[in-house]
Amino acid sequence: MSENMKAVPLPRRYFTPAVIVIAAIAVVGLLFVLARLIFGIGAVTNLSNEFPWGIWIGIDVAAGVALAAGGFTTAALGHIMHKEEYHLITRPALLTAMLGYTFVAAGVGIDLGRYYYIWHPIIMWNGNSALFEVGMCVMIYLTVLYIEFLPIVTERFIGRVNLPGFLKKFNNSIDKLLRILDKGLDKTMFIFIIAGVVLSCLHQSSLGTLMIIAGEKMHPLWQTPVLPLLFLLSAMSVGFPMVIFESYLTSKSFNLKPETHIMSNLGSMVAPLLGIYLSFKIGDMVIRQTFVYLTEFNTASIMFVIEIVIGIVVPLRLFLSPQIQKSPLGLSIAAFLVIFGVFLNRVNSFIVAYTPPYIFENYFPSIGEIFVTAGFIALEILLFRAFVMIFPIVSVPQHSGTKAKFSIRSV
């Protein structure tokens, strides 16, 4: 079946009513980014000396990194376990990861008080700092993702370099260059693929280490020395749900048949991963006896219960049900719940759980913060749509059955 599937650019009209709404959100978000650059962090956000980190770190960075886990999990499945049938989904997953991490970097960029010093960690090292490790890994991984994406670019343009006017004479040499690049990449790609998986494991877990140093300032329901492990396990279990959910959305918005077979195969792998995550989460709670905090009725305990029940237990049950396994809609709902659960976990860990000793005013994100976060997500969706239309990302059934890697120049 996958034999005659082929990744191709999907030519469609770019703007639909939904896309226009999303674009509007992106524009407002960018305006707030501009305001932050001109008037400073204090003018746009509700951050304070009590709450130095808000949703730009909790959502844009922490949740963003976790939800981009589809990239390394599918790379591990498709390339390292070498399951050919999953090759169709590695490209969309790779694109999501690439865009996701790009916006993680953008999120860090605007949150940094001195964004123009963002390169400092490259030469000023502090091996004791979890943040240093996260920063370096994310920087290298982002580069790796761009490299992994290059073959898709070469595939798109080889044999089709068609520069206008006087640049025409370069067409041939550029084409040759692309072919050399493509060959080189083809031979060395495995280095980057493995590196990508290793780097992901490292910084997904270090993102958990990040909050350990906050010590007593972090609510005991979340503060635990096994945070790095929990972060890694949850990232692993949210990878496939992200791919399932996205493939469903893509098929809906481009009017394609959903990949039910692959989706349900992926779905069958989610339950064990979620199960492991859940058992560690519960085990940690039992060992540290933090369940006593659940008897208190407050934001922390409510959020914790929602995170566990709606974000882990319910989707776990759904993924185990045979009916759900067969229905793309059911799978996407279950997948969405996992995504919600991990998203909430990051928000909880970085924002809800953070209770400094002296609080004058509780933190709630400002309009500006919310719009910037929403704007970045909107931009990501817009870019995803554009990339899918320009580059061969999404696989569709082919009738001609050409197996050649480079398609013939279209006149």
Binding site: R36, L37, F39, G40, I41, G42, T45, L47, N49, E50, P52, W53, H79, I80, M81, H82, D111, L112, G113, R114, Y115, Y117, I118, H120, P121, M124, W125, N126, G127, N128, S129, A130, L131, F132, E133, G135, I191, I193, I194, A195, V197, V198, L202, S205, S206, T209, L210, M211, I212, I213, A214, G215, E216, K217, P225, P228, Y354, P356, P357, Y358
Partner: protein, 305 residues
């Protein structure tokens, strides 16, 4: 053929590994200075003699070129109605706690950076912009800081403050133990101005001795607790008080250094980069085996045909 591709594969894997190891030795060495000087300095704050004149606040601002009202405005005691915290405009503040029935005077407590012996802020800072100096001061380097505010997340005393309203080159502000003054042999500004000798500047060792002497001489006057002697692994600033420190809003902290667990995990995951390289090699091996398997399956299929 198979052998050759395998050899090439392993060689590349090894090379990448070696490259990362090369980096690792540097990382380990580049850590912040962790050696504590025997004779590092500190300040003993005897809150029982503080009268809340807030002259230290004025002196601190003046010594750090921060805008301030004239000294006589500091006599206004209405500021004590609200608890205040040090921020980017005041590196130290004095708070007041009402007298209990048996007591004649309210209690005043001066707050500033504790200059921890194992500072969480130093461990956390992504670029190593904060350092523990030989004389005990924990100071911040404006040339390195990128404004990530992780030091603020890390500090157990909630001390570092950030200039949120500045769009360009905001700073992290906190008490620097008057590093520039003590370098020239001067006293910290707050210590120098204090009229009641609440603040004693000396080596941390001698201050701890002195604190315990005071406690044993006047057991009725002090609770038997030198705050900062053991908290988060010890701090350069030490406090004496006549009641439980929790009542004076000092955070209740354990004796383990604040960065302890985090650094241990960090170094566990990165022990000379062995775990990441091992993972790399493992994944490389798995990938190679799976690829060979897939290829030989294909070969078989061909033969069948």
């Amino acid at each position: 053929m198979v052998d050759e591709s395998r050899r090439k594969f392993l060689k590349t894997t090894a090379l990448v590994g070696a490259g990362i190891t090369g980096l690792s030795t540097k990382t380990v060495k580049a850590g912040p200075k962790n050696i504590l000087d025997e004779n590092r300095m500190g300040v003993l704050v005897d809150t029982t003699v503080c009268i809340g004149c807030r002259k230290c606040e004025w002196a601190c601002k003046t010594a750090h070129d921060l805008p301030t009202q004239p000294l006589d405005t500091y006599e206004d005691r209405s500021v004590f109605e609200k608890m205040r915290r040090p921020d980017d405009k005041a590196l130290t503040v004095v708070n007041e706690y009402a007298a209990r029935e048996t007591e004649q005077f309210p209690l005043n407590v001066k707050v500033q950076c504790m200059h921890c012996d194992r500072p969480a802020c130093v461990s956390a800072c992504i670029v190593g912009a904060i350092s523990k100096e030989e004389n005990g001061s924990v100071i911040w380097d404006t040339d390195k800081c990128i404004g990530c505010r992780y030091c603020m997340v890390a500090c157990p005393f909630q001390i570092p403050a950030f200039e949120f309203e500045k769009a360009w080159h905001p700073e992290i502000r906190k008490c620097d133990f008057c590093f520039e003054r003590t370098k020239e042999g001067k006293l910290p500004a707050c210590v120098e101005i204090c009229p009641m000798e609440v603040l004693t500047y000396g080596t941390r060792k001698s201050l701890i001795e002195r604190a315990h002497q005071k406690i044993s001489l006047y057991p009725d006057r002090y609770v038997n607790h030198v705050y900062g002697q053991y908290e988060v692994g010890g701090t350069s600033w030490l406090y004496l008080a006549s009641r439980d420190f929790a009542e004076l809003q000092f955070p209740k902290l354990g004796t383990n250094p604040a960065p302890g667990v985090s650094e241990a995990i960090q170094h566990g995951i990165f022990a000379y980069f062995v775990p990441p390289i091992a993972l790399y090699a493992l994944l490389g091996g798995v990938m190679w085996i799976n690829k060979k398997k897939a290829e030989s399956n294909k070969d078989k299929e061909v033969h069948h045909e």
